[in-house]
């Protein structure tokens, strides 16, 4: 069985690699202002195996072993607050990913990246490249300017839905956004784990703002934000919805039902209990591993949670996590 790896990173080594896809104006802008890509190496000092592959050859050597792969390029997450620049970089990244990777191997799929600063640019980019079936989802950073369920973003979801695309919601986001509701953190540990409560807030936002009533076909994969936190969140979400449902009449079913139907979560990082019996309890609370999809998150290292998880699953469940659920999600052969 070949896995479907739902989160493999690729990144250009520098903005210069994107120059073939940028206009003279932006090449000059980057050169004269001395804009540089920091890359994830600088952000993840102790848990990165190597820089994210910047070429098909590097990807093949480091990752490809028969598995299918969904490529995620986070380069645009670093883009500063010039909305025109954000849109230009998003287009350049998509063209680079298509030419450098997708065109060279039929096992590859990718997330389509969009500007996170202006929804109309996001829609235009989805219209420009979203018909290409090798792009399977629209990649959004979990840290944005507004919760993603906000109506401002609904045209983005409509454009995705119209092309059979889903949404990938990935950890991290634009520099300048605090990782907690109370402000900036001191340590990387807090920043890293901060992605989880932000993802929780996004889950609440998508459901509470009625995104899935408007776009019933839409699925959202939460990437690199963990999943062990989900059961208590859903217990609380259902309980509080019962108390204030009149505020959100467009939420027609229990919130947990929308989440189970529309959300998927990648297995890296897993962050699980050490005791296998407690892990069994967690899987029971999750109602099984049906929402989980395998991801290596290459080249990042999150510990051995995946192994611990797979050890507690039946053969059939393991196949679902490693391939089946993602195959259905992205329309790949099961």
């Amino acid at each position: 069985m070949d896995a479907i790896d739902c989160d493999v990173h690729v990144a250009p080594e520098s903005y210069e690699a994107l120059f073939p896809y940028l206009s003279d104006y932006w090449r000059q802008y980057i050169t004269e202002a001395g804009i540089r890509l920091n890359g994830m190496v600088a952000a993840y000092p102790r848990a990165v195996a190597a820089p994210a592959p910047s070429s098909y050859e590097a990807l093949a050597e480091q990752v490809l072993d028969g598995r299918s792969v969904v490529l995620n390029c986070l380069t645009g997450f670093e883009t500063h607050r010039n909305a025109y620049f954000g849109a230009a970089v998003a287009s350049a990244v998509n063209d680079w990913v298509r030419d450098e990777f997708l065109a060279r191997d039929p096992r590859l799929r990718a997330s389509l990246v969009v500007s996170t600063l202006s929804p109309d640019d996001a829609v235009s980019e989805i219209e420009r490249v979203g018909e290409d079936p090798r792009f399977v989802q629209v990649l959004l950073p979990v840290r944005g300017d507004l919760p993603w369920g906000h109506k401002t973003n609904h045209p983005t979801f409509a454009a995705a839905r119209d092309r059979g695309l889903h949404v990938g919601l990935h950890a991290w986001g634009r520099a300048g956004k605090a990782p907690t509701p109370s402000g900036f953190t001191t340590t990387y540990l807090e920043d890293y784990l901060g992605n989880q409560p932000i993802a929780q807030a996004q889950v609440l936002s998508f459901v509470s703002e009625g995104v899935f009533e408007r776009f019933p076909e839409l699925r959202v994969t939460v990437i690199e934000c963990g999943f062990a936190w989900l059961p208590p969140l859903l217990w609380r979400f259902d309980k509080d919805w019962k108390g204030v449902w009149r505020e959100v009449p467009w939420v027609k079913r229990r919130p947990s039902e929308y989440v189970r139907e529309h959300f998927r979560f990648t297995t890296a990082p897993a962050h699980l209990p050490d005791d296998p019996a407690v892990l069994d309890q967690l899987l029971e609370m999750l109602d099984g591993p049906g929402m989980l999809v395998y991801a290596s998150d290459h080249p990042h290292e999150h510990g051995d949670g995946l192994t611990a998880l797979l050890d507690r699953l039946s053969d059939e469940q393991r196949l679902r996590v490693m391939r089946g659920t993602a195959a259905e999600l992205y329309g790949l052969a099961g």
């Binding site: 540990l189 062990a228 208590p232 217990w235 204030v244 990082p269 962050h271 999150h302």
Partner: protein
């Protein structure tokens, strides 16, 4: 509240002030288990960044942090809440609270699962708070 707790632990607050006790109020409790798993797992990867932390983050939480129950999480299967309490290993750190008069107050008669054993129920309703706040166990005559 999750990020505040992570901040207190990662910031070395409990190493700096060993006698400090913190009560987290009006945020429920069941989320604590997953937070401690992720703090411990991430600390294992990054402990060199945290020379001030001498023990796994979960141990600081276990020693220094109390939780009020309201709004207590209500899973479809009440047993799951009991699992969650067991998973947090914080049975002696839970304090009952109603949050009266807010709309989402918890009734002392109904909020906790009936299947909860009597000693844990008594600890949450009474014993844990008596211990934490040093209150007299006998009523004054």
């Amino acid at each position: 509240m999750q990020t505040q707790l992570a901040s207190m632990v990662a910031g070395g607050m409990f190493e700096a002030i060993p006698g400090l006790r913190v009560v987290l109020t009006e945020c429920g409790l069941a989320w604590a288990a997953a937070l401690t798993w992720s703090l411990d797992a991430a600390w294992k990867l990054m402990r060199e960044d945290h020379p001030r932390l001498r023990r796994p983050p979960s141990e600081y939480i276990r020693e220094h942090v109390w939780f009020t129950t309201q709004p207590v999480e209500e899973p479809d299967d009440p047993q799951h809440l009991l699992y969650a309490i067991e998973q947090t290993r914080l049975g002696d750190r839970l304090l009952f609270a109603t949050d009266y008069p807010h709309w989402d107050f918890d009734s002392p008669k109904q909020a906790l699962p009936r299947a909860m054993d009597a000693s844990l129920r008594r600890a949450i309703f009474c014993e844990n708070a008596l211990d934490l706040y040093g209150l007299a166990r006998e009523r004054p005559v």
